[in-house]
């Protein structure tokens, strides 16, 4: 007996194998591309958010520079005005003279240092309220501290809010930043309406 070994190379088997392999390759290729694309989108979004935040920070620092310049001017103006007993020689004289509080200080019997301090406070208030974007906070009872705040836009929904307190006259530092935070500008009412209440599991698995 002669044993015969036949290898059947049936037509179509290679095609089926090829289709399977090509489908696998295409699926894995698509999956890896979609994943990489999604990662790239998240990275780009994150990069934009970081860029916007630091852009807002730059705006806030520029605004701070303007406010500090105003305080510096107020300090030197107060000194000059008290020494001369008038606001006439000052650059911002029209602004200072618009306040009825300024002239009585020059004619009062207060000491020079007290006059500097009061004049400085009035000039600070006038100059800061003139600066665009600055919100003056109402003085609390028995507290003469000048408090103000300003914001810098980070993007559509976020902004940096800076709150500062102006130090009184003899202090070396002109201002003190009391708060600097990132706030959301989205409508709070819309947030409240979209907020859902979830019933939390109370720790009992027994069916009611």
């Amino acid at each position: 007996m002669k044993s015969k070994s036949n290898i059947h190379l049936s037509v179509g088997s290679s095609s089926i194998l090829m289709i399977f392999v090509v489908l696998c390759l295409t699926t894995f290729g698509m999956l890896s591309y979609v994943t990489a694309n999604a990662d790239s989108k998240i990275s780009t979004k994150n990069a934009e958010t970081v860029q916007n935040y630091y852009k807002a920070n730059q705006l806030a620092q520029t605004k701070l520079e303007q406010l500090d310049s105003a305080l510096f001017t107020a300090k030197s103006d107060a000194k000059q005005a008290v020494d001369e007993g008038t606001c006439d020689g000052l650059k911002n004289k029209s602004l200072y003279q618009s306040s009825s509080e300024v002239q009585p200080i020059f004619n009062s019997n207060l000491s020079k240092n007290e006059k500097y301090a009061i004049c400085y406070q009035i000039f600070c208030k006038l100059l800061l309220s003139k600066s665009s974007g600055v919100v003056m906070e109402a003085a609390q009872d028995g507290n003469d501290e000048i408090k103000c705040s300003f914001t810098a836009e980070a993007d559509q929904n976020r902004q940096i809010q800076v709150k500062l307190t102006v130090n009184s006259y003899p202090s070396a530092e002109r201002y003190k930043i009391t708060e600097e935070k990132l706030i959301s500008t989205q409508d709070n009412a819309a947030d409240a309406s979209s907020e859902e209440t979830f019933q939390l599991w109370q720790g009992s698995s027994k069916a009611q």
Binding site: G12, S40, N46, D68, F72
Partner: protein, 151 residues
């Protein structure tokens, strides 16, 4: 006998067609894998570049005087041109600081605007990838720090 040779002939014709089709499909799929790999590389570069730039920006935000240099900037190469100070940091492929053959570079340009009341320091941070054809910009970050002058 004749039937067998016919079957073998048709099998070989099919194999040729299959190989042809497979090579075309493989070329297309390979391109897809290459594109995915490039995209992943870009995404990874951007993520690390953002972290590095943010780290430097926070260090600049934390300075309290002009003479105070951050730890990162102390190790950088320093150049100055037209009122702008440049600090150059070189990194290897793994984002470790290196002195030779850098793969990534960070250029920190500091510009100081002095006014009567203080100094506003502008910092422009540019992260780029070094290629044989030149430098490829990955990420830029602009920030500023105001330093008030006290008497």
């Amino acid at each position: 006998m004749k039937r067998d040779s016919n079957q073998i002939n048709s099998f070989f014709i099919e194999i040729i067609i299959v190989i042809l089709f497979f090579s075309i499909s493989a070329a297309v799929t390979l391109q897809l894998f290459v594109a995915a790999n490039n995209r992943a590389q870009q995404s990874s570069d951007l993520s690390v570049a953002v972290i590095k730039a943010q780290d430097i920006a926070e260090q600049i935000k934390g300075i309290s005087s002009l003479n105070e240099l951050t730890e990162e900037l102390k190790a950088a190469k320093y150049t100055s041109s037209g009122g702008t100070e440049h600090f150059l940091l070189d990194y290897d492929k793994q984002w470790n600081q290196t002195q030779s053959a850098p793969q990534y570079k960070i250029d920190i340009a500091l510009t100081k605007d002095a006014v009567e009341s203080g100094v506003l320091v502008h910092a422009d941070i540019l992260v780029s990838r070094c290629k044989s054809s030149g430098e490829n910009q990955i990420f830029t970050l602009n920030t500023a720090k105001y330093l008030s002058k006290t008497p």
